[in-house]
Symmetry: C2
Subunit: 185 residues, 2 copies
């Protein structure tokens, strides 16, 4: 199997008015995406934030469960948070993933608004071939990834759709669903 | 298509020590599950809590976006929260769903710990037949549904699995993944 990485991007993302902002790291996003990442065999989960105070907050959330008071309290959280890496930018995440996988990952984005070019089934097949390049899936917080971040991606996934014309899933649900489509049993 | 309902159960659920407790309603669970429910064509999302103060809290969260200050702020949240019904117990949820669907729904549970009896593909096929009974999927908060609640269910779904031996997803991720497996396009 090719290695799979995910990155949760807090900057540059859009706010509800389409302005480019940095969003705040939330404890629940870290926990939920870490648990989904661990379930679906993601090699590392990068939390990307340019602001040092925000990265320190993220590190405290992880540290609480890894070494702090939470350590004896819930081993299942520790197992999940073990794969979290808090980094200042996407390039740092890519460099780390390249070191882990031995190859630069292709970047994949998915967006409720995007016109998708690749099906989940096609990407799933690629992941099953071990000598295919690793993949890093970019998730946006706020109202989604800024255009400059979308342009950096190598592949775009089709939007997640159900039977209705509404596809405004939370990033916590969307990340779980996408990982399940790519790696679920 | 048969109608689909979901219920988020806050009592009786287990805590980390396996004791039966009532968990607190959280704003984010309501928002995330409402958005997933709306995306995947769920007819109503029942938030089940026996404590009146907790139901009032849930109603305030919904009311903020439906009629209160949030109304003009984010129409996509309003569209999702429109399907939330806050009820004291499962029987009230079942009675309401029966009135909406014209038939008593079969209850389905899924649990990380359960030995699943039914595949997602098989349940998906049932949902596609419009004269099959409606379904209500029960989701537990805390550390999962209490045994007495599991016993009430008519069908058990297989646990959600990835390539690793870890399946402790958040209820926000799990609900999205299950709805996507049953109704995703």
């Amino acid at each position: 199997m090719a290695q799979l990485f995910i990155a949760l991007i807090h900057y540059p993302v859009l706010d509800r008015n389409g302005r480019i902002v940095a969003s705040a790291i939330t404890s629940l996003d870290l926990h939920d995406l870490a648990r989904s990442a661990r379930t679906y065999g993601v090699s590392a989960f990068y939390v990307v934030h340019p602001v040092p105070d925000q990265r320190e907050f993220g590190a405290r959330v992880v540290g609480h469960w890894m070494e702090g008071p939470g350590r004896q309290f819930d081993s299942r959280r520790r197992e999940a948070l073990d794969r979290v890496r808090i980094v200042p930018d996407l390039d740092t995440a890519l460099a780390d993933a390249t070191a882990l996988a031995g190859r630069l990952p292709l970047m994949v984005h998915t967006s409720a608004r995007s016109v998708g070019q690749m099906s989940y089934a096609a990407l799933r097949e690629r992941l099953e071939v071990s000598d295919d390049p690793p993949l890093m899936i970019l998730f946006g917080t706020g109202f989604g990834l800024a255009p400059s971040m979308l342009e950096r991606a190598d592949l775009a996934l089709a939007p997640l759709l159900g039977p209705e014309d509404y596809n405004h899933l939370s990033v916590r649900a969307a990340a779980g669903i996408i990982l399940d489509r790519l790696r679920g049993h």
